[in-house]
Each structure stands twice: as structure tokens, then as C-alpha cells.
Amino acid sequence: MTERDRSMDRHLDRLLAELAADAPQPDPALLARIAADADRLAPASPVAAPRAAPRAAPHRRRRDLRWVARSRLSEQVRVWGGWQGAAALGCCLLAGLWFGLAAPDTVRALGQVTDSRLFEYDFPLSGMGDALSGMSMDREI
């Protein structure tokens, strides 16, 4: 190939490249129409479905934790006999705490009555023995 041929070749390449660059480009509206066709004819998307899931995951997870806590509580309440039972149990609990921490005198006296020594030796039903013997029953019974 002579220098003249090479020069003509380069010249030709440049002209053809220029012509190719000048070629009309498709309108964005055409691209949009073709994309709409593609969407319309696309089969049901097994790829798109899992893609949506991870985006929703963080919200769902937080909601799940709350949901789990709520469901466990309601399950426990159901075991206690509903909200009324749970309220009664709560009252008993509070009363127990109150008696334990700052019991009134009457409650403290009750505690003394149930003391085991008092019950064994100073049982206030001493007259009952005679009555029982009169009925031919031994006191020791």
C-alpha cells in the first residue's frame, strides 16, 4: 500500500465516521413506546417480587417485634381469664405488696393469731373439751 493509498484510507475512515455520527437518533418518545411494549409483553416477574421484599424488610422487622410482644401479652391475658382476670390478679398483687410493706394493725394481729405456738398451747376453745366429754368423746381425740 502506497502512502497515497494510506492517506485516502484515513480520509475515507474519517468521512464514514462523520457520516455515521450524523445518523439520526431515535426520539425518546420512540424509546418510551418500545419500553411500554416490553413491559406489556413481559411475563409475570419472578425477579421483581423478591426485589420488593428487602426494601420492606426493615419496617416489617420493627413491626414484627412489636407485634410479637403484643401477641404474647394477649396470650398471657387469655391464660389469666381475660382482662378482668388480669385486673383482679393485678389488684391482688398490689394488695400483697401493700400488706407486705405497710400492713395495717388488724392484718398484723391476724398474723399473730396464726402464730403456731399460740395455736398449740393457748387454744381459746378450752371449754369445748367439757362439752366434748359430755358427748362421750375423749378430749385427746
Partner: protein, 191 residues
């Protein structure tokens, strides 16, 4: 792997992904192939609206064939080229005439300089005329190579000839163009 081969493999993968429901794959194929289809149709039909219809129809056929596409049997680019060619031929038959290159409207040039526009338009006209004078097979090979950016094996597949025959056609086309343009160097802004 050469660019065209890599692109062909990627096209097949994208089409398979589209067939399994991935719409994003279709977007890539649209961006890659629509300009080619449209340019090819515009060169043959010399009518923007008709070229758009042809490009849309060719791509529509691609979406329809996607589930049955068998990778390795054909390249998406060559398949689309053939479909576009056939659609253009149908339209030209309906019109009842073939469009010559010198009848084709000049591409729009939005450069600000009027002088440059004129020179460029003259150059473009002269080149279009010279290409139109080439024998049809040489012209087709040249267009596929330079305007559709296809590789020689792809051109060989489209034209159903060997790669060596493509090289020979291209060489003859370039020699013919060079001869036609030799006397027009001044007109082409090279004088």
C-alpha cells in the same frame, strides 16, 4: 473475547432475563439496539415516522420471541437486522418504489456555523451519492461495517457469506468509494 462477541453473549443473557420477567434487561436491549434498527430503517426508507414504526415493530418481535430464544443459534443484533430489513422491504414494496440515497433527506446538523454546515452537508451528500453508486452487496457490507458497527463475522452471518468474502467486499467497496471521491477532494473540504 472481542467486544462484538461479548456483546452478543450479553444480549442473549439479557433476553433470557427479560423472558423470565426482568424488565430492566429490556431497557438495556432497547438502548443498545433501537438506534441501530432505527438508523438502518431510516437509511432504507428515508422517512423518520416510517423508520420509527419499523424499529418499534422489530423490537416488538424481539419481545415476542424472547421466551423461545435459543442462545447460540443466532445473535440478537443479526436477528434484529434481518427483521428490520424485511420490514423495510415490505414497506418499500407497498410504496411501489425504492428510495435512492440522493432522495434521502439530509441528516440534521445543529452546528452553529453556517459555513461549516454547508461544507458538511455537501460532503455528506457527495458521500451518500458515492455510496449509492456502489454495487448493492458492497454497499450493504459497507453500511453494516461503518454505520451499524458490526464485526466481519456478524456481517458474514447476515449476508450468508464467508468472512473472507466480507473482507473482499469491503475492500472493493472502499476502493470504489476512494475512486469516486478522488475527484471530489476539494468539494469534500479537503482541497
Amino acid at each position: 473475547m472481542r467486544r462484538n462477541e461479548a456483546e452478543a453473549t450479553e444480549d442473549a443473557v439479557l433476553l433470557a432475563r427479560y423472558a423470565s420477567g426482568d424488565r430492566q434487561a429490556a431497557r438495556v436491549l432497547i438502548e443498545r439496539h433501537t438506534p441501530r434498527c432505527f438508523g438502518q430503517a431510516y437509511r432504507r426508507l428515508a422517512d423518520r415516522a416510517e423508520a420509527e414504526d419499523v424499529a418499534q415493530e422489530a423490537m416488538l418481535r424481539l419481545w415476542r420471541i424472547a421466551p423461545d430464544w435459543r442462545a447460540g443459534e443466532a445473535m440478537v443484533s443479526t436477528w434484529l437486522y434481518r427483521v428490520t430489513q424485511n420490514l423495510c422491504t415490505d414497506r418499500l414494496r407497498r410504496r411501489g418504489r425504492m428510495v435512492d440515497y440522493d432522495e434521502a433527506p439530509e441528516p440534521v446538523d445543529d452546528r452553529p456555523s453556517v459555513a461549516e454546515k454547508l461544507v458538511r452537508r455537501e460532503r455528506s451528500t457527495a458521500l451518500h451519492a458515492a455510496i449509492a453508486e456502489l454495487p448493492s452487496r458492497q454497499r450493504q457490507a459497507l453500511q453494516l461495517r461503518h454505520f451499524d458497527e458490526m464485526s466481519n463475522p456478524q456481517i458474514a452471518e447476515i449476508m450468508e457469506i464467508s468472512v473472507e468474502a466480507v473482507e473482499s467486499l469491503l475492500a472493493r467497496a472502499r476502493r470504489g468509494l476512494a475512486a469516486a471521491l478522488a475527484g471530489l477532494r476539494e468539494e469534500l473540504g479537503e482541497g
